[in-house]
Symmetry: C2
Subunit: 158 residues, 2 copies
DNA sequence: GCCATATTGACAGGAACCTGTCGAATTGGC
DNA sequence: GCCAATTCGACAGGTTCCTGTCAATATGGC
């Protein structure tokens, strides 16, 4: 029977903590966006195309999601008038996601709310703890990214 | 326009990092469990009832999920023979989720794989960084839990 | 013991992610 | 310039989460 080493135990605990914080943060994001007709997922898409319009596939790569997941979210955003699809000079088929005035306004409001929320929450916290937590997570993420990359090269964990 | 303070900026970055690691960890969990007919969600349910059988609603509270999410997962686990519903001496309606021999065997195999995975991944990492990351996340989680608790008392962010 | 209240599983339906497959458009080797 | 390989959006279908509603069951005040 394979047993966890001390370091393995630490990593396992860290991942469980990540799951809990992820759930709570998503919940907070949905609460922040709900009354504007958005959600955490929609907000993220708007944020990516704020700087400049981009096709669905590009947004998906930036977000680390499947192309089709972003496609669905973007189609919903278009139906609700937050974005529009523009002609792409470099690609006839891959239209660009661009914010409408309504989308831009909603994004600005969400960002203001998020700033208030983050400032309040962070006010009572130790800056050093926040910094080192982010640093540790970056380390974990790099290892995970190498890991999944080598998996896909080798054909998975079967 | 509300702007992010330095601490707010740190918290925001940390949360974004949590999202990325969460996605990668879920992916790794699914890869670990897939060939056994499980998934990250199913694994978690089996893990909770391993120590002792419990009704769906209890499992949901422990996992921080909605009752009905666990209900669906548990029903699927029963269909596939990993768990069975047992009579509950304390409650006629709330039957107990209990591992079948097949479920117990699958859980043991997943845990062995997870140990190998975590040990390998943690081997190259700084133990102090892992510890302080977990500690920082615990701090964030506590603040988030207070926050959502006060939200529900006050009636949300509308 | 009785009855309002809370909790439970069943059922219905929606959101956000996934995968696989398809034809159209683009790109790169030659 | 041609043609194979890649990338793109459309479409179909599945999983895991959510919410809301209902009837059955417990629970607690009195």
């Amino acid at each position: 029977m394979t047993k966890l080493t001390a370091a393995g135990e630490l990593l396992t605990e860290l991942v469980l903590e990540v799951f809990r914080v992820n759930g709570l943060a998503l919940e907070a994001g949905d609460a922040l966006t709900e009354s504007l007709g958005l959600s955490s997922a929609r907000w993220q898409v708007l944020g990516v195309v704020d700087h400049e319009p981009a096709p669905v596939a590009n947004v998906a790569r930036v977000m680390g999601l499947a192309r089709q997941s972003v496609q669905q979210t973007a189609d919903a955003l278009e139906r609700d008038g937050f974005i529009e699809y523009r002609e792409n000079p470099h690609h006839r088929r891959a239209k660009l996601i661009a914010l409408t005035p309504r989308g831009r306004e909603a994004l600005r409001k969400v960002e203001a709310r998020q700033a208030t929320w983050a400032n309040q929450l962070a006010a009572g916290m130790d800056a050093k703890a926040l910094r080192s937590a982010a640093e540790g997570l970056r380390q974990v993420r790099q290892r995970l990214e190498e890991d999944t990359a080598s998996d896909s090269r080798a054909g998975g964990a079967r």
